[in-house]
Symmetry: C2
Subunit: 375 residues, 2 copies
Amino acid sequence: MIEPTTLSVSGDRIVATYELHGDPATARSRADALRVEQTIEFPADLVPDDDIQREVVGRVESLDEVGPEVARAVVSYAVETTGFELPQLLNVLWGNSSILPGIRLVDVSFPDSLLARFSGPRFGIAGLRTLFDAPSRPLLATALKPMGLSPERFADQAYRLALGGLDLIKDDHSLADQEFAPFRERVEACATAVRRANEETGGQSVYLPSLNAPYDQLDARLDVALEAGVGGLLVLPGLTGLDHLRHLAATVDLPIMGHPAFLGSFSASPTSGIAHDVIYGTLMRLAGADMSIYPNYGGRFSFSTDECHAIADRLVAPLGGLAPAFPSPGGGMTMARVPEIVEFYGPDVTLLIGGDLHRGDDLTRTAAAFRAAIS
Amino acid sequence: MIEPTTLSVSGDRIVATYELHGDPATARSRADALRVEQTIEFPADLVPDDDIQREVVGRVESLDEVGPEVARAVVSYAVETTGFELPQLLNVLWGNSSILPGIRLVDVSFPDSLLARFSGPRFGIAGLRTLFDAPSRPLLATALKPMGLSPERFADQAYRLALGGLDLIKDDHSLADQEFAPFRERVEACATAVRRANEETGGQSVYLPSLNAPYDQLDARLDVALEAGVGGLLVLPGLTGLDHLRHLAATVDLPIMGHPAFLGSFSASPTSGIAHDVIYGTLMRLAGADMSIYPNYGGRFSFSTDECHAIADRLVAPLGGLAPAFPSPGGGMTMARVPEIVEFYGPDVTLLIGGDLHRGDDLTRTAAAFRAAIS
């Protein structure tokens, strides 16, 4: 038994909802283990009836059987356990519980005292609508592909796509600093090409390089991108960290697309991990993505319509003072599906079509047709 | 159709093995989709018979049915697709495929030209044995707990544990920069306390603070730790990134423990994600962990004995010139289980016991008993 501890806490609490899959008879003991695991990770019987036991250890606020072999535990945590920092917040929500069997994080809400520490999406839906002079239509995005092309050929693609009037022309998420198209050469060439197209059309297309870099090169690549005059950033927080995304959103005056590469394992299993809407919706937005890319229903990735709706809802639902972000469904989308997808999401959506734009002889004409399809 | 491309590649290839769960009739088309998804993510029919098609797109080297509803696809990738960088390597292995249904990464091998770019564990098993003057015994580790204690009380714990002769005294993975025990105060107090104990005993215990920090504070916290004279680092790459771990191992002359917080979702489902041994074994070691912490079998986390054996094997199996790393099973381990665990792993293991050491009246005496139990 350790000596009693006296602490001062605000009373503000983070509220997380977990599904517990398995024998309902064990749900109570599992919920109790969870609230300890995520905080003190220490035998509860060795802590006296003190402020650690009362305030630092999580609390099971409710526990309900919600289906055969599924219970729903609402667990709250003192906001002070996070230190008001995103990595430790993620640790409290899903650090060791990620290793526990049959637990899924399905909902989370934050007190204002925590949300006030996050700047969230810098542009958000309203800011991007102003930037692109698009008061009400969906935004249009595409990717420079395939890996293996030279910087000059990517730049030529970017130029033609911008001429066609697409808003967002991003690197494919596979582009990093490969010798086929090194980062600096590619980014300088593409940024220049999109600027040239804008000068010709009077448009405001932006090029977003992929900032997928080693830890010790992230700042340097950002500098290269800023010097090249890029109009936004593509960020892969599964690889470079949700907190790096947060840092970018807080410090760089450019719109950010968040890409789900490497994150899919969190949502892959219905009985473990983190629910689609929490990771691609709440967490992406909390970290500051202006647009959250995720695989659309009906593509090759098998997200359901319910999951896609839930993600889109989280991106615009109230979240302290944080701006709403654009849902950006992608993944094998085609021109033919545009009307259906706009019908499904409504106008507050960024439509991301990659490879399918390359069907046909003239990239500019195809891009213009994409633009016309949503006007 | 895009214009043909000519490229020069080395011929060195990364070889990844994926399990494809589901209808065996679709295995061939899914393997073909996978090799495209992980590289060019572009309609294969729009790429001519050129070097992109031949060299950049992954190759299905073999495809075998290995069980009911399970096929095994061996897919190779040109090493140049990674740009020889860890985040993009992870992207090639498991970026978008993380979002595809029913696929699990179960094995990977790297060409020497890639491994030569990684320094791996700086100390490894041999280096730590020298550091701790422990030529053949298991190493002993514990954690400072619970969150909520003050820096002074953690320092007192650290002092007593070091007096008892434990090798590695780490922060609990839940400790970040909370107001209960701010990083600087905690780290300075604990490093001082362990040094004082070493002076009294002539021992060489080390204190490892948890470097779980926001992106823009990682370097500053490392500086605090170095100035305080810590003896090692605890790193949570699920939260701060595998590449940050790589960067630390390459640049900081301290042993590193890698902790699995937030990574559990990768291994949680048997039909998706990344196999236990690949993520806690191969990838942790490639990134440079000298010790890889993972939940031991028979604890509260439900890893199996096979999974634990496989992780331990990956940490010591040949991997280019990279040093072997210590398996560090933990998670609800008890003193009573020490003989069984040493029998299971053999002497090349770091035993991590946290809360259970606090049973009994005298932490130093319990720690000394732990030490005696493996002598």
